[in-house]
Symmetry: C2
Subunit: 589 residues, 2 copies
């Protein structure tokens, strides 16, 4: 199998050109310098390549299994997790006062890409733990911080998110898990949760479950949901572990992919009630959970980038090696490497440029999140928070859609060998397929974008964003570089499509929201193509400005604009003209 | 799991409206009447639903396995195959003189859709056997016909296609298997073949392998390949079976999908040489093999339709049943079926209309194949043969691409349950992934389309085809029906895109063939969108003409035109403006 190379240069280039990192370092908003960032990402790359990658295939074959009530993770998993914690990788973005390294989200997301590229089944464990960390950091009491947060930051314990129930998936308002307040201020939690990632394992001494449940007198729907900390083992006041709490893993799903990651059915309170501690306020649990979910959505977007990058690396390696057919580089009667065939090149360029566009979108989203925390000016913080909110559904949905598409192209490049599991391409195709589903399906991301994000500040957040895209289009046009080809024209078409479709969405939200919902998914795709194309163009402009010998960024930006962003105007026609016929038929089973 | 309903009405509607079946029956070209066709397809639907569908999931779980040199197919497989043969299903399109039923390919393909929708792992066995039947029918001697063909037509024996070797996949010119002529006129075959579907099994008493090999004095490349009949068990002159031939299955691949279908490594001549019989002429084997491959390419396209239809049926059933979120049909505080949500509707309409468009393309291709055999006028036969040749790469590649896309949407509709194997949606996603790869990758189909099919008759075959598409656009426009929405405008845009891109392809083939190759894949997609959109429009026009109450065909045609055919103009920009940047980067591993 092809070795993994962490895309350190590509990540730093995206941070600098698309996310404007240099200016943030220069003005002191970001206090980590470029050399430190590079060093951290390089070290993450080594850890991924040396520790996680070798377990990826064996972990998939072996899978996690429930045996006599205990979840067994695959061989090597526990050691890898302990090395991960010992290396300080569980705490990159956490506050120093909790034992973290206080690095920007941008760096944490770059490292997360590496964990998930080398071993997505493993990478999910810190992904969920980080979500739980964020929630406790934001809403935990001093005692909760001391007892739980510090152990999760250090990597001694992992965390989970217990949201879904069989009847309450996308629609959390209908969840039924119960919480009853006890005389001592704790709560007794009962109920069944499904699809709980790393809901049980023996890699660490304890697991901190965050659980959504409903108080007896809670109002119906989403306004009656509270959030609880439910440890697997009780934690005494001195931090030592007590007895087992009343929570068990009752089953592990047999899944299409990520076999190593245990997806658990969790039963709370089979023996009378699991002991839980309220996190935040009663009936305000969903607000806390949204903190975890927003961070997790970006992290899932990064998983899409990760799988896409790994699949692309594998495909380029195979296509460079595999010989079939005559190409210009070989003598008559011999076969050339398939990478020299035009159709294979198109596929690989598509894979590579989609991956880099999605990565830029995710890293810009991380940057806005950093800015929303770190900027000195409250107005800058507020604007950044709004832009992060706007971009989160694109980061999640566009990146995971292209994760699946690129993984599928990766199988195709390998021909018949791609369909044989041992090659490794098929695992990416299987693993990637969960990404458009969990942490809010991509359809829900599209609806969130249209119904909640476009209306932010009366539409001004979106207007300002489009204004920035226009500026880049104008810069590309003004640069007048022959090697840019038709980049300016194609990006302008794509941003025009985004602007027109956005205007339509605004009108329909007021008049006929069903039409807006009907167009939400193709609209999100236009957004991803326009933003991704512009970010790659910023990368090309930066390359030209710095007069580097590396033609990669110009080539990828131009390819994306001339070959992929070309889809945007047609998608705009679909959005503005396709809603009526979406409702034109009574579909019956 | 959702029950399977054979799409009998949809198939007949496509045959009549898109393929013009009524006229062919009326003028006597096709001698099977509509009622007979319906009866055959309905019976096939019963067989699929009652015999094949119940084995689909269990067969996938169990898989085919090589144990002590013998391939074991899953439980129930042998009985199902024998019922299949006993029901006469192996011989639908075969000549009566060989024991077949002489039904049109159109009907055989409709039945093949059903086998593959209910159980693709099973459906592959007759698919390959039919390819072998076609080759022996066309090129076999009287003795070969008597000894082998009749047993394959009756379903007593199955057939295989032994083409691929490790170093010779897409590029068959480099195959190395050897054939040495013996004094008795037979040949000794030695070599290793890989990816041989149903290369071994014990469902039937014998297997007829068709094997490509090279004579000692053969010219290099594709002009030095001969084709041989190599039976698993020798066949005596009286038709009885003799000793085992020198051919074994040395391994069964561990694959992403179609686990029940054994994909074999075959070793010929490990004990001195398998005995083979020349089929056709020496060094002309590839010409014979192309007969099999062309039929197989259409049949693989039908597999794409089949998986897409099954995935769509499953998704509609789930979406009708699963309740999440508020919809107009339910009271506040309750949840409605997700099929009522606009974004889910868009996905289901996309699945259904893509499936029907691909089915129409495949059935029109089958019709042209029938016409090429059955028409009385030699000019009509020749024109039909050319049109079948033109459409075959679209039938194969467009249908299998959408097979994968629709299967992926099917997983998405199920949410988290879609990622759980037991639901069944994931199996379609895994199974479908082989379709764009085997029988010539879809990239090779696109190159075949551009470099061999567009130039047919100096481009006149394509010109005439586009002329027919224009006629339908004009009919839609002239019908002036409000329920058609913007169908005429959108189809006209799509056909314009196809015409413009075709003109560009013609120019580039002469000037710069690499540019034509670079655009081949998006070009093929435009072709599929334009042709598929027009065929659905013919279905809509027929519905309106017949004044039926069924609004399905109008709704699907309009949705396809307004929501999916809208991609064609953007793809045209990619084809005509994207080639330069495809070559803009030295991709390195």
């Amino acid at each position: 199998m092809a070795a993994y190379t962490a895309p350190v240069d590509d990540i730093l280039h995206a941070l600098r050109s698309a996310a404007g990192l240099d200016a943030l370092i220069a003005d002191g908003t970001v206090t980590t310098d470029l050399d430190t960032m590079r060093a951290v990402i390089e070290e993450a790359g080594k850890f991924g390549a040396e520790v996680l990658e070798p377990l990826n295939w064996s972990g998939d074959r072996e899978g996690s299994k429930l045996v006599d009530g205990v979840v067994h993770t695959p061989k090597g998993w526990k050691e890898a997790y302990q090395a991960f914690a010992a290396g300080g990788w569980s705490s990159l973005p956490c506050a120093e006062e909790h034992g973290g390294q206080a690095l920007p989200q941008m760096v944490a997301m770059a490292a997360a890409e590496i964990w998930n590229a080398t071993n997505m089944g493993f990478g999910l464990c810190p992904l969920l733990t980080n979500g739980a960390i964020d929630a406790i950091e934001a809403h935990g009491t001093e005692e909760q911080t001391r007892l739980y947060l510090t152990k999760m930051v250090s990597g001694e314990w992992t965390g989970t998110m217990n949201l879904t129930e069989p009847q309450a998936g996308s629609d959390l308002g209908h969840l039924r898990a119960k919480a009853e307040k006890q005389a001592d201020g704790t709560y007794k939690i009962t109920g069944t949760k499904i699809f709980i990632t790393y809901g049980d394992h023996e890699m660490t001494d304890n697991i901190v479950h965050l659980v959504l449940a409903r108080l007896p007198d809670a109002p119906p729907g989403t306004r009656g949901i509270s959030l609880f900390i439910v440890p697997k083992y009780m934690v005494k006041a001195d931090g030592s572990l007590g007895s087992r709490n009343d929570v068990i893993c009752a089953g592990v799903e047999h899944k299409l992919g990520i076999h190593a990651s245990p997806t658990c059915v969790m039963k709370f309170g089979e023996k009378g009630g699991a002991i839980g501690y309220l996190l935040g306020e009663e009936n305000r649990g969903l607000n806390v959970m949204f903190i975890m979910m927003n961070a997790a959505r970006l992290a899932v977007g990064i998983q899409g980038v990760a799988v896409a990058d790994r699949a692309t690396q594998r495909a380029i390696a195979y296509a460079s090696d595999r010989r079939q057919g005559r190409t210009a580089s070989v003598k008559a009667g011999e076969m050339g490497p398939i990478i020299e065939h035009a159709d294979i090149r198109r596929t690989l360029m598509t894979m590579k440029s989609l991956t880099q566009a999605a990565r830029a979108i995710c890293l810009v989203t991380a940057k806005e999140g950093d800015l929303a925390r770190l900027a000195k000016d409250p107005a800058v913080r507020a604007a950044a928070a709004n832009r992060a909110a706007l971009l989160t559904p694109i980061a999640k949905a566009f990146s995971t859609d292209i994760g699946c598409e690129v993984a599928s192209m990766g199988v195709q490049i390998h021909g018949g060998m791609g369909f044989v599991e041992e090659t490794g391409a098929a695992q990416h195709y299987r693993d990637a397929r969960i990404l458009p589903i969990y942490e809010g399906t991509n359809g829900i991301q599209a609806i969130d974008l249209v119904t909640r994000k476009l209306p932010l500040e009366g539409g001004k957040v979106m207007d300002a964003f489009i204004g920035d895209l226009w500026k880049t289009c104008e810069e590309v046009r003004a640069s007048n570089r022959p090697e840019f080809g038709r980049m300016a024209e194609r990006l302008t078409d794509a941003v025009t499509a985004l602007a027109d479709a956005s205007r339509y969405m605004g009108e329909q939200l007021a008049k006929n929201p069903d039409n807006a919902m009907a167009g939400a998914t193709p609209y999100l795709r236009i957004f991803g193509l326009a933003a991704g194309g512009v970010y790659l163009a910023r990368g090309a402009l930066a390359s030209v400005r710095e007069a580097t010998d590396d033609k990669t960024h110009v080539a990828l930006a131009r390819f994306f604009a001339e070959n992929l962003a070309t889809a945007a105007p047609g998608l705009k026609e679909t959005v503005v003209g396709g809603a009526d016929s979406t409702f034109g038929l009574a579909l019956t089973a």
